[in-house]
Point group: C2
Chain length 146, copies 2
Amino acid sequence: MDTEERLRDILQRLQKDGHRMTPQRVAILRAFLSAQDHPTVEQVYRRVCRDFPMTSLATVYKTVALLKEMGEVIEISGDLQGSRYDAFHPEPHPHLICTRCGQIYDGEGVDVQPVVAALQAQSAFQVSTYRLDLYGVCAACQAQSG
Amino acid sequence: MDTEERLRDILQRLQKDGHRMTPQRVAILRAFLSAQDHPTVEQVYRRVCRDFPMTSLATVYKTVALLKEMGEVIEISGDLQGSRYDAFHPEPHPHLICTRCGQIYDGEGVDVQPVVAALQAQSAFQVSTYRLDLYGVCAACQAQSG
DNA sequence: TTATTTACGGATAATGATTATCAATAAGAG
DNA sequence: CTCTTATTGATAATCATTATCCGTAAATAA
C-alpha cells in the first residue's frame, strides 16, 4: 500500500465519521504519510508550508491527533524536546535514537513480540501497545568523533 | 544494599564532586530511594514536605537532575503528563503502564538484553540505555470493569 | 445551482511541566 | 572563626501542546 493509496483510504474513513476533506488536511496527511525521518509536528508544518503557505501550526496538531486516534501514526516521546512521529510504519516497533545527532532509525529484523508476550503473561496485563527505544550513538556519529 | 546504605554511598560520591550535604537534599534523596511506586517529582515533593515543610519544588527538580547524572534514577516518560521516576530499580527494565488507573508496575522475570543486543548488532549503534514500556490495562482494572 | 448546516482553519491565548534566575543562606575547608 | 561558594527558595521564563473562538468553506439536500 503506497502513500496515495493510504491517503485515499484514510480520507474515506474520515468521511465515514462525518469529517471533511480539505486541501490543508490532504497536504498535512500527505506530509505525514510520506515522511520517513520521524519528524516533529513543527517539521511537518514547515514542509506543508513550502507548497501551502497559508497553513496553521494548530491545524497540524489537530491532524496528528486524528491520525493517532485512527492508529495511522505512532508517537515517539522520551528524552527529546517535542514528540516525533512515525506514520510511515504505524505499527509498534523499536526505535534507535542517536543522542549525538538526534536522528531516529527504525529497528528492523528483530522480533519483539515474544518479549512483550512474556511480560504480558507474567503481569496479567492486557497490553494494547508497547514502546521500545534504544538510546546511543549511531554509526555515522561514531565515525565522526569516536 | 538497602536505602540507607545507598544514601551514604551517594552522599559520599556527591561530596567527592564538590557537592554538599544539606538536610533538604538528604530528605529528598531518601524519598526517592525508598519510593517503590514510580512517583512524579510533585509526589516526591509532597512526601518530603510532610516531615520537612520548608522545601521547594525547585530543589526537588535539582536533586532529580543530580540523581539522573549519577545513574541512580531512571526516568519514565511517554504518554503521561509529567515524568515518573524509578530510583528503587535504577537499571533499565520494562515498565507496565496502566492506561486506566495510571499505575506503573515493574516488568520482571523477562530478559530484554538479547533483543537489545540484537538491535544493537543489526544497527551498528553504540547503545547506552534503553526503554521498554508496555501500555495496557492492569489486572485490578480489568476485574473492576472488564 | 443555491441554501443550509456545521466541521474546519487560523490566530492566538492558556496550560502545565520543567528550567533558569538570583539574592540570601549555610556547608565545609582552612 | 572566617571565607568561599554550592545550595536553597521563590518566582519568572520557556516551550511544546491544547483550548478557544470566529469566520470560512465542505458536504448535503432542495
